[in-house]
Amino acid sequence: MRIDAYISEFARKTPQSIALEDSKNSVSYGCLEKDISDIALYLKDFKRSRFTILAESGIQYIKLLLGVYRSENIAIPLPIEFPRFNLERILDSAHVNNIITTDTQYSRFGKNFFERFGTVIVTYNDMSVNILRKDIKDETNNPELRLVLYTSGTTGTPKGVMLSDRNLIANGESIIGVLGITSEDKGALVISPHHAFGNSILNSHLMAGGSIRIGTMNFMNSVFNLIGSGVSIFYGVPSTYRMLLKYPDSFRQAFTGVRTAASAGGGMDKSIVKEIRELAPWLEILPMYGQTEATARLAYVPAEDVDKFIDTIGKAIPGVTLDVFDSECRSVEPNIEGELVARGENILLGYLGDEIATKSKVVNGWLHTGDLAQKLPNGYIRLLGRKDDIIKIGDHRVNPREIERYIEENNRVSRVFVVPVSHELMGTAISLMVMPAEGTEIEALYAFCRKNFPGYLCPREILFIDHIPLSENGKISNRSIIEEYRHVKNSM
């Protein structure tokens, strides 16, 4: 079964029920069914081909995604908040010949951007379609592949997570179970639908026959209006909640009718939970944990345990088994540190065009999350850090070594070190420590970062240093960099 088959079912059973809405429009299941069939009609000559989707967050994006599914092709949504340069990197690695886009994005990116594609299809809000070029090429794809989500692409090699219909549906069903989503529920989608978390909100609410209210976090008054419009489940990453909590009165008022505040994408800290509890004591808080490689979700903290176990990721969602392995892939006892591993029907097919990375990520059916963890005596799991250097910046997974290398290779500097620093809204942002070379200009470095990185990676400050921040055993690590940063700041 495919996700769009659920739309057909609800279009038959409850054609008038609302599936999608934004601040101006709403679309019933009956209309959605018709619209995605219409889009699929334009794509019917393609056979299991990869289609990249370039569309702003909104109803139109969801129609395009479902239309690609309906035509039995493969969808590759582009994370639209990335600078053009990052998108081009993703396209280079995905080798896509076909693109379907909105007129807004076509005029924003301009004709040149689209020259790399054999097929270019531009769609309009009134559902009219303009096929600028059509070139059907034979492609070899994994027979189960339906969706490719890119996890990084800011620097280094972008990784395309390949997901199947089975992955999407299995994870959707688990999430419906955990949140108790029904056709009566209205979910708020204010985070990007192009990534795993946003995509899972779409899947789970559409599979339950419920509705989704789509918006962005840009204008706070609009966000609070959206939440107050009958939303029953609100979803956000921790920074979403930090932004909303800046406005306590509006928060309390807007969340009056909301039953659940769900989170993922990063750990909810105690202070966020405390503030929410004070402002909206009726709200069920539901922190979830996952990664794109698991379609979206892997674990959750049951609502009744949130106050006691907020520093854990709780337990596995239905259909998923979690364990902690030592370096020999043997399950370890509680309180022993190891790597968190997971299995279930939601585990990825592999990385697009990267068998080596796939083999090291999934071993004997177990997804190796890269997160260090320990089991607690009650079976809950506590995260202890990363196996690699990856850090969370503004709730995004980031490899600081890749960013450093990338800045070094493209600027007049000797060495660059990324320091995670706390940020009022993002939780963590970055600063740079730079060993200058001849002609190093701070202004040029800022400009480079603004142009080449998404917003959350723009440095809050750039400091000059004169030696490499090594640890006692002579290595560069996040820890040695943070220690040097503290030292520099203290002596300023």
Binding site: E56, E81, P83, T104, R108, T216, M217, N218, F219, M220, N221, S222, F224, S239, M243, K246, Y247, D249, S250, G394, L425, M426, Y446, A447, R450, K451, P454, G455, Y456
Partner: protein, 81 residues
């Protein structure tokens, strides 16, 4: 009015994804053109509040008042009176 706009452009050039040589029309959407994101907007609000010593009521945090140079300048002028 022009002074407010120039000041905003300087801020955006230094603190947003806007290039030094980008030409921004008064009615261009800051969010749709990728010049500013949601976190950047909240920082801009803090900047404006301090710079012009104004309080921006929460119900004014709308696209009409914050998505274009014109909108922001109008709002500042209205509140600064």
């Amino acid at each position: 009015m022009e002074q407010i706009k120039n000041c905003l452009i300087d801020y955006l050039k230094a603190n947003s994804f806007m290039d030094k040589d980008t030409h921004l029309e008064d009615s261009d959407s800051l969010t749709q053109n990728g010049i500013i994101d949601s976190i950047g907007l909240l920082e801009l609000i803090d900047y404006i509040t301090e710079k012009y010593s104004i309080e921006i009521p929460e119900e004014m945090l709308t696209p009409e008042n914050f998505d274009t140079l014109q909108g922001i300048s109008n709002m500042i002028q209205k509140l600064a009176k």
